[in-house]
Amino acid sequence: MDKVTLQIFANQCRAACAVMAETLYRTAHSTFVRETFDFTAGLTTPDGEMFAYSEDIAATWFVGLNMGNAIRKIGHYEEGDICITNDPYGSGFVCTQSPDTHLWMPIFHSGRLMAFGCCHVHNTDVGGAVPGSLSRTLSDVFQEGIRIPPLKLFRRGELNRDLLEVFLTNVRVPDQNWGDLKAQVAALKVVERKVKQIIDRFGPDAFSEGIRALLDLAEQQARAIIRSIPDGDYFFCDYVDEDAVTGYPLRLAVTMRVRGDELILDFTGTDPQLACSLNIPTGGNERHTVLLVALYHAFRTLDPNILLNNGIVRPIRCILPEGSIVNPRYPAAVGMRSLTGARLQDVILGCLAQALPERMPACASGSISMVVVNTMDPKAGRIAVATIEPMVGGGGGGPFRDGTNGVGGTISFLHNTPVEVNEAEVPFEVLRYELIPDSAGAGLWRGGLGTVLEFKVFSPGSSVTARNRDRTRFRPWGVAGGRAGKPSEFVLNPGTDRERNLGNVDVVYLEPGDVIRITSCGGGGWGDPYRRDPARVLADVRNGFVSAEAAEAEYGVVIRDGELDPEATARLRASRPTPADGERFFEFGPERTAYEAVWTRRMYDILTELLWGVPVTWRGFFKGKVFEAVDEISKTRQPTPDDLRAVFGRLKESFFGPA
């Protein structure tokens, strides 16, 4: 297929996906789809490679999804079949958390299997231990709801009512699941018709050639981008605040190896799998899409014309230690993988920031917490439950511009809910919803500001759920001399004697009159703040983004009575010793610096090695015990690698007996 025809073919396939996604979005029942856009739509080859994807609406995570494992679990396909799965393990890790219900449909031409239409919806609930089926507290996948392994929901166009009934019997709001399933089925039928038209137009052989060519073109585009990245090994790690409710930090580490037009992501040094739901199920698949989301964003940023399909993952390979967070063994719980996944994106972007400092931004706030309020409406005598705001936080500063305020990074598809709509629907009062001055990381280009949401409830029995909150401890980092953004907060009754820091708590129960304050992080800064144009700093001060005190302390810019003092600024800026080149490329903030003073890279390498010397089921447990002991030592002195080995040795002995 010549290149012009291929472009036209690509447009046809993209249009088919768009029509499919819009149909799904328009007809889905659950507010989850409508408000958080947590669904996708695409087309795969008969082998399951995604060759076209809905790029304009829907979530960004499944661009490189390979449906092959799930497709192969069904032996034989016939016209009119529609298959379903929501089982992370049973689907061969095509599905990665139980609320994600995937459907796929074979598309035939004269009896020949040409492609699959596929789509997924994040269902509001699929049963299990908690409403919504997701919680950090869950310890195995059985608690995360009913799981359907790959099965035919429709056989030659006929609904499998038995399967449907079993599914709907086990979920909390069956009407919504059924409504969303119907939307998915409608979307698949639309795309089947569109694809058949494309096949009629180009011919079946050209179609098959065309879909391969689309994958090849995306691969070429990705290779061209990778070639523009200097060869080298780039290591980065970052932390989720807690590996369980009030647990120890969870470490995600990656070494990105760039060689010519190939890229390896080696996850050695990433924590062992956990007895909570923060695990990311990949089955050890070297190119699993949930690991590579950051690269889709980075590639699109570096080349706005790149085709988004499975071809772009071909030059990439992941090394996934077995029994780690990124390759957990059955039956690990996986429901909260989106929290871990968001941090994983930061880790990969941290590698890229080192490789391409002039083309990549600093860290964005990296939290996707949906705040849900549950309270009594005394007038209507009913419980009011509403998702009030996604608390996203600022984008990272970039090499040529400031980060976006209140939103950015890889999470720019969410909408907020107007205060007026919230107050009309929930009997509570919003006291404040605005940007937080001085929350952004300073820089030549500063981060975007974080947001604060403060509200008061009036009824007994109220509660607030804020799932997926993180970064109350470890901040969004700054790069190239830029500073880290401010961490997030979750506080009950701030500024009163009843104030309580809630940290990363998922659910909090409230009394009438209680006030909740939730803040999101500011983004990290890019470049030395002392090089920021004083006029920009002045504008920031006048706009209330930066206080005059911070202007002086962080930017070396002196502002007196709202005016710039150029002489004092020049003096102050000159008085600071010039930072050495390359010194402190990243700035992480005091919390991580203090933490890593104990848990140095060397210490963690040893810990990783030791943990991988014990069976998978023991690793998470041992990690906790080791941290307990090291914490104790660090109260009196700097723990050493020998301490670590000694602690570990004692643990092994006490649980496994003498070596």
Partner: protein, 687 residues
């Protein structure tokens, strides 16, 4: 003899459309726009029309006008320096918007900067609750502080937008009165006076854009009447301004409603298109208006243009009811290029109107879509812009060659590749929009207009599976024609947010009665433009299932409100929900969010003259030309549009040449000229 005139100012040209009421004859005229002095365009054009004997200004009874003054002020960021008074604790309504960014994959995606920088956003101590009661009273001290702040930042105007003002606008009004008394040099706009709807960002940004363009539009409208008088148009003529809702309003109050005039030109185009489509017997239409830099599409269903809210102007959303015209970044001036991997691309860069495509001979070097048509031979023998330009094929050839060589294609195949790809890009973008609106293109006809619309219309129709294409008789000035045809129209809204149960009947009745009173007061003030006795009032409700985040507008009958038939209203909602989303839940509780009322007073419509009947089926081509098309050189007939008479048959491949555009008819399309001069083509190709 009397005249009704429409004048629409676009990016490049000022379009004039003159209806002679007696003969029904329509005269069109284009003038190059002079962006520096917009009022001069209108006077100059009228002078020219008078000089050529087309028009006696003293006999003009109706003058309808669409202007780009507001859009240009916004795009060039030359609007008023404003302060925004907001509720304390909610300073970043503008800065945060609704959070979402335009490109979800790009890490550097951003929104355009707020029109009012945060420095000039002044928090005021006050608070209204969701039920309208006062939680924190507004006092003079707070207002004095706000005024000091507004003055210290050098504001020329002030927007007041408080939380929950849609429910109780009292604090906004008090603030406005205070500023009016204490600081008469500042103009003050309340959010609830512009569009009093729930959702603070949408209401605020609309009021801010309104205030931002207000001084420039006030000056323009104030000067317009003078300019018309000096051009000889009498006091008795009604002078109206086009609105984005597809209607018009009197010029005297246009400044006070200026946010409605932004992008009214494309909206008028759709009104013109709906009129023409009605004549051609096509109730469901996709309109395609292709200019130099973009293709604008809209949908007409059952003869009515589709309306929506949240249209973007210069990257900023405006939330008033508007004809949904969506822009696709591909037009006649879109530039073709080859990327590093040898892949051909068209746009998004455009040669625009200046210097324009290479074939315009005005210094353009880059190969554009229009150049590709020129190279293929479609434009030979035609003219552009009423003879002001003759296309230079030699220059187009030079430009296209720069693409052909790196692609390893011959000149003609490269040109055809550009056409095919541009049409395919338009197909992709229009498919997305139609899918979003839940419309199957196969149910539509395509009506193509604008300078480049008739050139690409048939090609795009075939991609979309649309079988019928209509080319109206005056495709270059359809916006000006639409302006003449537009009715006096105004929208009214009130947010109620009530459960639609039996108890709702009283609130609905009272609320609609108030809206109706406001509508007739508005009509009364419009005076002579239209006859209020013929006015039509349309009621609708924005409704949703309780708990849904979005509402849909559902037309309702006045008698349901009068008789308190809430059941009928609910049934209408379930039916509409089923239609739009494919499902409904008759057992679920329903909420009414907004009451809406539209008042329409028809303006007199000129009777369009019919074209002469043809002597025979076959029109006479003025030349036979060689055109490279469908991978081969073909000889095809070229017709002049003015030679086409009612009943003439056309068969592709063929080309019809007009004063300011070219109609390309590919093989497989066949059709006739109807008695109004429309070319109506059917695609006979199996598809």
């Amino acid at each position: 003899m009397t005249y009704r005139i429409g004048v629409d100012i676009g990016g490049t040209f000022v379009d004039f459309c003159v209806f002679d009421e007696e003969s029904g004859r329509l005269t069109t005229f284009k003038l190059l726009a002079t962006p520096g002095s917009p009022g001069q365009d209108v006077a100059g054009g009228l002078g020219a029309l008078a000089a050529q004997g087309t028009l006696d200004p003293a006999r003009v009874v109706h003058f309808a006008h669409g202007t780009t003054v507001g859009v240009n002020t916004l795009i060039q960021r030359r609007g008023a320096k404003l302060a925004l008074l907001c509720t304390e604790g909610f300073r970043d309504v503008l800065e945060l918007g609704r959070l979402d960014l335009p490109d979800i994959f790009n890490l550097f995606s951003e929104r355009p900067p707020s029109l009012i920088p945060r420095e000039r956003v002044v928090p005021v101590r006050e608070r209204i609750r969701a039920d309208g009661s006062v939680s924190v009273p507004l006092d003079a001290k707070a207002l004095k502080l706000a005024l000091d702040r507004a003055r210290s930042v050098g504001a020329e105007g002030v927007v007041v937008s408080f939380i929950n003002a849609y429910k109780n606008p009292q604090h906004e009004r008090v603030a406005k009165a205070f500023f009016g008394a204490e600081a008469p040099e500042l103009f003050t706009v309340c959010s609830t006076d512009v569009w009093p709807v729930i959702r603070e960002y949408e209401r605020t940004v609309t009021a801010v854009i309104h205030a931002y363009v207000y001084p420039a539009m006030r000056r323009y409208f104030d000067g317009l009447e003078g300019a018309l008088r000096s051009a000889g148009i009498g006091e008795g003529a009604s002078v109206v301004i086009t609105k984005v809702n597809g209607g018009v309003m009197g010029v005297r109050r246009a400044a006070d409603h200026c946010v409605w005039t932004l992008t009214s030109g494309p909206a008028s185009g759709v009104i013109g298109a709906a009129y023409v489509a009605g004549l051609a017997g096509a109730p469901n239409v996709l309109t395609l208006d292709v200019g130099g830099t973009s293709a604008d599409i809209a949908v007409i269903t059952d003869g009515e243009p589709m309306l929506g809210m949240g249209h973007h102007v210069g990257g900023y959303p405006i939330y008033v009811p508007a004809i949904m015209v969506s822009s696709i970044g591909c037009g006649g001036g879109s530039i073709a290029w080859v990327d590093d991997l040898g892949v051909l691309r068209v746009g998004p860069e455009s040669a625009g109107a200046e210097p324009g495509p290479a074939c315009y001979g005005r210094g353009g070097q880059h190969p554009t879509l229009t150049d590709a048509f020129a190279v293929c031979g479609f434009l030979a023998g035609g003219s552009l812009a009423y003879g002001a330009l003759a296309p230079r094929t030699d220059l187009a050839v030079g430009a296209i060659r720069t693409i052909a060589e790196p692609m390893g294609l011959d000149l003609y195949r490269a040109a055809e590749a550009i056409i095919n790809l541009a049409v395919s890009d338009m197909y992709l973008e229009s498919s997305k929009l139609l899918a979003r609106w839940g419309i199957d293109p196969r149910d539509l006809s395509l009506l193509a207009f604008g300078g480049a619309g008739p050139m690409v219309g048939c090609f795009l129709a075939r991609e979309l599976g649309i079988r019928r294409v209509i080319i109206p008789p005056f495709p270059g000035v359809l916006s000006a024609a639409g302006a003449v045809l537009a009715d006096l129209k105004s929208d009214f809204i009130r947010t109620v947010l009530i459960d639609l149960d039996g108890a709702a009947a009283g609130s609905l009745k009272a609320g609609f009665a108030e809206l109706k009173a406001a509508a007739f007061e508005w009509l009364r003030q419009e005076g002579g433009v239209a006859d209020a006795r013929t006015a039509d009032v349309r009621l609708s409700l924005d409704m949703r299932y309780t708990g849904q985040a979005y509402e849909i507008e559902v037309p309702i009958e006045e008698r349901w409100v009068e008789t308190g038939d809430v059941e009928a209203i609910r049934a209408a909602f379930h039916a509409r929900h089923e239609q739009v989303y494919g499902h409904s839940d008759p057992a679920a509780p329903v909420q009414a969010v907004n009451l809406r009322l539209v008042v329409v007073a028809p303006t007199p419509k000129p009777a369009l003259a019919e074209v002469e009947p043809a002597d025979s089926d076959e029109p006479e081509p003025f030349r036979l030309g060689k055109v490279f098309y469908a991978s081969a050189e073909q000889t095809m007939p070229f017709f002049k549009r003015q030679d086409l008479k009612a009943g003439h048959r056309l068969r592709g491949p063929a080309v019809v040449v007009e004063d300011d555009c070219t109609v390309c008819i590919p093989a497989g399309f066949e059709g006739t000229v109807d008695r109004w001069g429309n070319i109506i083509l059917e695609d006979r190709l199996d598809g």
